[in-house]
């Protein structure tokens, strides 16, 4: 019995170390490959803990192999967009301004009830309040509300005060749109580039304006339907640019 206690302690410390190396994601935030890994790790850890005839190395070696594999998978998914899509999938829009996208729901194996449940979890009880709902790669559903139903921000109030002081109705100034990621971690997303109707010239122009030497230096570049560009270089603060101003410079 004493052996089992020592074995349990050793295995616990190693599993703890493995999970620390994997990062701080919670179960709901895990990508599919991380979730699979967590399941296998849980199973592997119990074998040498409960069975004293199994050498403890039979649990430790696969655990460490898996954490190494996880590390390399994470690196590859960061570097390769295609691999990332294969391993983690991509976010899917299930509600758009036209309503529920039934085909997407079917492909994701999500029922209407599941969708309603997730949407209610986001604080929206009626579908007509929603502009977009996106099922993320980790299975979470995120909602972008229509302008009339989205919470008022300080920015909305200050814009209202400046633009229309006589009006008695407080309204959201801009249309709500989903920002499109053009560059993430130094890699251009070609599909999103097409989706945003952008050419490489625009990116080059942004590089010039922001004094950025290479695309690899960019951490994130997103653009929304109002032309607002969120730009951030690695290890630097973000800046907001306006696409309409850029067009004038082109």
């Amino acid at each position: 019995m004493f052996t089992l206690i020592i074995r349990a302690l050793i295995v616990y410390l190693i599993v703890l170390f493995v999970f620390r190396l994997m990062g701080k994601r919670q179960l709901g935030q895990m990508q599919p490959f991380e979730f699979v890994l967590a399941l296998i790790i849980a199973d592997l850890a119990t074998i040498p803990m409960a069975e004293s005839s199994v050498p403890i190395l039979h649990g430790i070696v696969p655990l460490l192999t898996l954490v190494t594999l996880h590390y390399f998978l994470t690196i590859i998914t960061k570097k390769s967009e295609i691999f990332n899509k294969i391993i983690s999938g991509k976010p899917v829009i299930v509600i758009n301004p036209r309503g529920i996208d039934y085909e997407s729901l079917k492909n994701l194996n999500i029922t209407i009830d599941d969708l309603f449940e997730s949407v209610r979890g986001c604080g929206y009880f009626s579908l007509d309040e929603i502009e977009y709902a996106i099922v993320e790669t980790n299975g979470n559903v995120n909602v972008l509300a229509k302008k009339d139903f989205s919470p008022v921000t300080i920015n909305d109030i200050s814009s209202f005060c400046e633009s229309d002081k006589r009006s008695t109705n407080l309204q959201k100034i801009d249309e709500n749109t989903i920002p499109i990621t053009i560059i993430a971690d130094g890699n251009i997303n070609k599909n999103n580039l097409k989706l945003a109707n952008w050419s490489e010239n625009i990116i080059n122009n942004i590089l010039k304006i922001t004094n950025t030497k290479k695309i690899k230096d960019i951490l994130i570049l997103t653009v929304d339907g109002n032309g607002k560009i969120y730009f951030q270089r690695k290890k630097e603060n973000f800046i907001i640019l306006n696409y309409n101003n850029l067009k004038e410079n082109l």
Partner: protein, 129 residues
């Protein structure tokens, strides 16, 4: 950077463990096989198995296996290697009863177990799938 160092250390550890396992197990099984073959040759030339030579050689095998079993337990499932220990004990019983046929049978079984372990532990497609 810290993570990279950890991963490098893990990879080194995994390689070291794999190499050590292969070296120790191969060495141990090879020596056991030699001792068993030696015993087999001696038994085939004699009528009785309770001679001093066979008793000494059997004790030598038992002592060697008991020492090696402790190391092998680190790498192999304890249940998988206990068969050889059981058969070595059967050798002693056969010596006491002077049962040559039983002795040869146990020797053959030990030889068979050693070969099958070599096959299981070695890197081959059958073991992977």
């Amino acid at each position: 950077m810290k993570k990279v160092i950890h991963i490098c250390l893990i990879i080194v550890f995994l390689f070291a463990i794999c190499l050590t396992e292969q070296l120790i197990i191969n060495n141990c099984l090879e020596k056991t096989n030699n001792l068993v073959n030696n015993l087999k040759n001696i038994v085939e030339t004699t009528e009785n198995v309770n001679t001093n030579l066979i008793i000494n050689k059997t004790n030598e095998l038992k002592e060697f296996w008991t020492n090696q079993e402790r190391i092998l337990c680190t790498f192999i499932n304890h249940k998988e290697i206990e068969d050889i220990g059981v058969e070595i004990n059967n050798l002693e019983s056969a010596i006491k009863e002077n049962q040559r046929f039983d002795y040869i049978e146990s020797i053959n079984l030990i030889s068979f177990f050693v070969k099958s372990y070599e096959h299981i532990i070695g890197i081959n497609l059958q073991s992977i799938f």
